[in-house]
């Protein structure tokens, strides 16, 4: 059957057909054309209408099949014919007239059929909802505990390596400083410049109603230096570097590189996590300083363009309004955020089990969780600083 089906172009594929002819030995079902998966709907419809018409007219069923004019039959077509043979009443002594050995072979193969059992029905939806909610909550709790454990493990390694600085992989540290810090600088600058611009515009339009445009400087000073600069930068770094930490370490885990390290007596937390987190802790405050400058610059441009406040006036009133504590509060939060972003990123990387799919899922989680934790911590910091009146 392989030889006549070969390279029949799509346009010239033979239409399937069937008719019943009464011969000397009773009714014979003649089939022709292509009986394959491509023509299966036509085959099935044609066969069904032929059979029902015959039944309606009260004609006797046929017991012979003639496949002589079939141009191609594949397992799908053979399955259809086998089902036909099995479904019709009468003795099972079907006679295949004029059918080649290959077609018979295909028919035989298609007899070896089984049924895939239907998948087990899902449990009652309320029950499964409850079940899944519980499992999810427990899973999150367990992950949070494991994260706390990782913080402890990391802290221990940090203390130990501070006593023995030779354990710190300095080259890796510098590498990650470059990638998480230096290369993030342009986007951090651009983003904070635009945020400063927007804040100043919004504030200016309100302040102008009172003729108090110049106080935009005081507002910018608090908002940018204390909150926006560090928050925007931390969120950006979480999305940019935290996720890449998870992906890098996750791929190493799924490649069994981490197992290889353990077998060789290398400590994966020391080798992989410590340089990354340390690099982030060093680099994020620097990025925040950069972000502060750019945010103020954005405000300056907005004030100059929309309210004609000249840069000299802006800088002059900034000098009067600026208090060091706002800068310090902003920058002081950065290392804590860096620690959280780095640890969450590395921790989730180590959680990868199985293949590449898990890496993707955990990378997404890493971004979501580190941003969540950064904002949560920021709120806690605000409370704390409020209590101690800084």
């Amino acid at each position: 059957m392989r030889h006549f089906q070969d390279s029949v172009p799509a346009g010239r594929r033979r239409e399937p057909g069937a008719e019943v002819l009464d011969g000397a030995e009773g009714a014979v079902l003649h089939l022709w054309g292509e009986w394959s998966v491509y023509t299966l709907p036509e085959c099935k419809a044609g066969l069904d209408s032929l059979l029902s018409a015959r039944e309606r007219d009260g004609l006797p069923p046929f017991r012979r099949l003639n496949l002589g004019r079939i141009t191609r039959i594949d397992t799908a077509g053979a399955l259809l014919l086998n089902n036909l043979v099995a479904a019709l009443p009468g003795e099972r002594d079907w006679i295949f007239e004029n059918s080649g050995a290959e077609a018979r072979a295909i028919l035989d193969i298609s007899l070896a059929k089984t049924r895939v059992p239907p998948p087990p029905p899902p449990p009652f939806f309320l029950l499964s909802l409850l079940n899944e909610t519980g499992a999810h909550v427990l899973g999150e709790l367990r992950l949070f505990l494991a994260l706390l454990g990782f913080f402890g493990e990391f802290g221990l390694r940090l203390l130990r390596s501070l006593c023995r600085p030779r354990d710190i992989h300095l080259t890796a540290c510098v590498y990650h400083m470059e990638h998480a810090g230096l290369r993030a600088a342009p986007i951090v600058c651009l983003l904070n410049f635009m945020i400063g611009l927007v804040i100043a515009y919004m504030a200016l339009s309100s302040l102008a109603m009172f003729g108090a445009q110049i106080y935009v400087v005081n507002l910018l000073e608090v908002v940018t230096l204390r909150e926006m600069g560090v928050l925007i930068t931390a969120i950006l770094v979480a999305g940019r570097s935290g996720s890449s930490f998870t992906a890098q370490i996750g791929v190493m885990v799924s490649n069994q590189e981490v197992d290889a390290m353990r077998v060789m007596g290398l400590d994966p937390v020391l080798v992989l996590a410590l340089p990354r987190v340390l690099a982030l802790v060093v680099v994020l405050p620097c990025l925040v300083v950069l972000a502060d400058i750019m945010g103020l610059l954005g405000g300056l441009v907005a004030a100059w363009v929309s309210m004609d406040i000249s840069p000299a006036v802006f800088i002059d009133s900034l000098r009067m309004a600026m208090r060091a504590k706002h800068v310090l509060v902003g920058v002081a939060k950065a290392p804590v955020f860096a620690l959280v972003i780095g640890c969450v990123g590395c921790f989730l990387g180590f959680q990868v089990k199985g293949g590449a799919a898990a890496v993707g899922i955990l990378t997404t989680r890493s971004v979501v969780e580190s941003i969540f934790l950064v904002i949560l911590l920021d709120a806690l910091f605000a409370l704390l600083f409020n209590m101690v009146r800084i």
Partner: protein, 275 residues
Amino acid sequence: MLDAPAISLRNITNSFGGHVVHRGLDLDVRKGEILGVIGASGSGKSVLLRTIVGLRRQQAGEVSVLGVNLTRAPASAWEEARRHWGVLFQDGALFSSLTVKENVQAQFRRVVRLPGEALDELAALKISLVGLPPEAGNKLPAELSGGMRKRAGLARALALDPDILLLDEPTAGLDPIGAADFDLLIRTLSKSLGLTVFLVTHDIDTLYAVCDRVAVLEDKRISNVGRIEELLRVDDAWIREYFLGPRGRAAGNARGGLSAAPCPENGSSLALRGG
């Protein structure tokens, strides 16, 4: 047209940057035969397979499948060619978010609109054809063993009754029993369905058990093609080392001299172990 080889490669050149993998490579795969391709690691066996199915465009030369030159063919010719071949990648390459049954059905859904019942029936037939237990149809690829994944991949490759089956390292990573089962499965299916098989392998046992002819990829081209007995008479250091080295000799001896294993020709005897 009817006598055209199933796959015909003419003067194929493939290179990555400055690194030439194939230069002036010629190969014909006859209809109905099982051709094994061997070669050292990195000699470009998989690249050759990818070139045939169009995953890689060769720098020069022509690929014809069933007498149709695909080199500068329109998309419709490729679409037609895709109906005639099935590919099994190394680890099955099953769609990880679909069950085995849905993986097989994805092939049907691509070409024809069928009611769910017919789809289920067809998928069950293909799944039993490759010797998987029926329950495997509802499992996700991640829940299967390596051997079962390969069988499921084979079921998907066979879904549309292709004329040509291209296999990339079908027995790599299987235990010897699983590998022998898979060899037998390929042999049985190809003979009963009249398939042409293009098989890239490192497994010398598979060569003896399955292949009608073996092509040797050496020095960026096919240096020799023939039955294993014929190859052994060729004066080529690499081929002799391949077949008469310690591993090759063991495989050859296990086959009772250097003759190919007897193959079951009967298509209905497909009772094979799953995975």
